[in-house]
Symmetry: C7
Subunit: 97 residues, 7 copies
């Protein structure tokens, strides 16, 4: 059984969303149209401490869909699935709609 | 339907203003005359924390026209539209008139 | 009509003073004599925050004549005029007399 | 008799877990399937001080199974056994299940 | 008439002291004997702010004779005279006697 | 008579332990078996100040046996003996048993 | 008459001790035996400010014999004598006996 990872500090575990290459009707989508580097938040760390030792919680939460930077992140294989670990401050924002 | 992005921390989502190459009367404008690197603020993040953990709000607001630095910013495609994400402190100022 | 720029944070908008190449009587001035890299303050930002989030006002004010460093500054064209944006802490001092 | 090490500050002493190359039934596991860079926490330091001098405890504890970054860590040989020292903030998270 | 410069922040305006190449009796001084890189303080800035926004005054004052580092400083020509601007913390000390 | 050194700030004076190349019974030890980079604490400094000026004491004390990093440290010859100066935060931990 | 230097901030004026090349009985000392990079404290600055603006006094005092790092320090010639300026935190410790 794949292990479960609880990220440390302000790290966020994300499963990248692979954009569909065809529409639901099976029509091939142009390569560039849907290349949004996004993912779903699987787990978040407890947050990091500011310089006065106060715990600063992570800005995103489990289930959020987030926009990811083009580079960065650490890939982590848990069982057969691939995930990525990002620092909270590197996540560009949350996607809605 | 294109997704809506809420930027994280002190990031600002901007739609660049493409300067008109002709006057309203159709006369070609010299290349250099109107090349102001500016854009419109579409959405702003909640702000970043200072080292004591206090939330420092973003200086610009939705609808502002802002002057952008020549370099930097992350390009983001939402649906068919291209936007750019800048950090609040990298925006040079607001344009008026 | 040229746009008006309100600089952000502790940025200062400056119009460089082009030193006269001739005296009022029309005599050519030696190249080196008057090459003071100075300018007039057109607009100032609201100031930057120190690490505790307090707003630290800009040290110079509109109308001041200031001494500029040899390098640095961002050039900005507003309408037909060229200006430069400097950070408050990069301005070397104010010129009097 | 091998010496016992109490790590200093926020250092963590870890014994790496060598993933099994065969299943319990003796079947050779594909090279990539189980290559999780993980280890068991053997000992933790007292924690590091934040800039105000307060002691910030380490986030992991003895017995935890942790996910390690691909690089970094200091290898330490105590008697015949090899261990690795990591800084608390470099540990990616704790593994469960 | 040469302009007067009030340095900004913790900058210090200094007029370098050119060591005499001959004694008062006209005897040529050996090149190395008097090569003390020193100068006179002409004007000082109001001081810089520490990270809590408090103004930290400059350590030297007008009229002080100071020892200067071998490198650094910004040269400033005011009228026919050459001056140098140093940051307060780069001045090595005050010379007496 | 060799001079006595009181280290400054959070520096620690250490005498490196040269691992025995033979067992007490005179049998040659394999090169790698005992190569623990360790040493004995001879003297410690008063500690360093955190950014608020509070004195943060050194974590190790005279007589401790400590694990040293592979690199770093300043070698100091006092009389005929060689010692090494390390910063407190570079010491990996204390060895016991 | 040579000038007197009062160091600024946490700088320390030191006169290096040139180790004797012969014993008092005139016997040539081996090159390495006495090469302790040390010096006598001639004058100290008032101290530097921590980030809250509090003055942190220098750790050494006039007359102390100190151990100096192999590199660093600014050489200063006052009259015919050569001195060296070090920052307080670069001094390795005080020598006694």
């Amino acid at each position: 059984m794949a292990k479960r990872l609880i990220p440390s500090l302000n790290r966020v575990l994300i499963e990248k969303i692979v954009p569909p290459s065809k529409t639901s009707a099976g029509i091939l989508l142009p390569e560039s149209s849907s290349k949004l580097n996004s993912g779903k938040v699987i787990a978040v760390g407890p947050g990091a401490r500011d310089i006065n030792g106060n715990l600063v919680p992570v800005c995103v939460k489990e289930g959020d869909t987030v926009l990811l930077p083009e580079y960065g992140g650490t890939s982590v294989k848990l069982g057969e699935k691939e995930f990525h670990l990002f620092r909270d401050e590197d996540i560009l924002g949350t996607l809605h709609g």
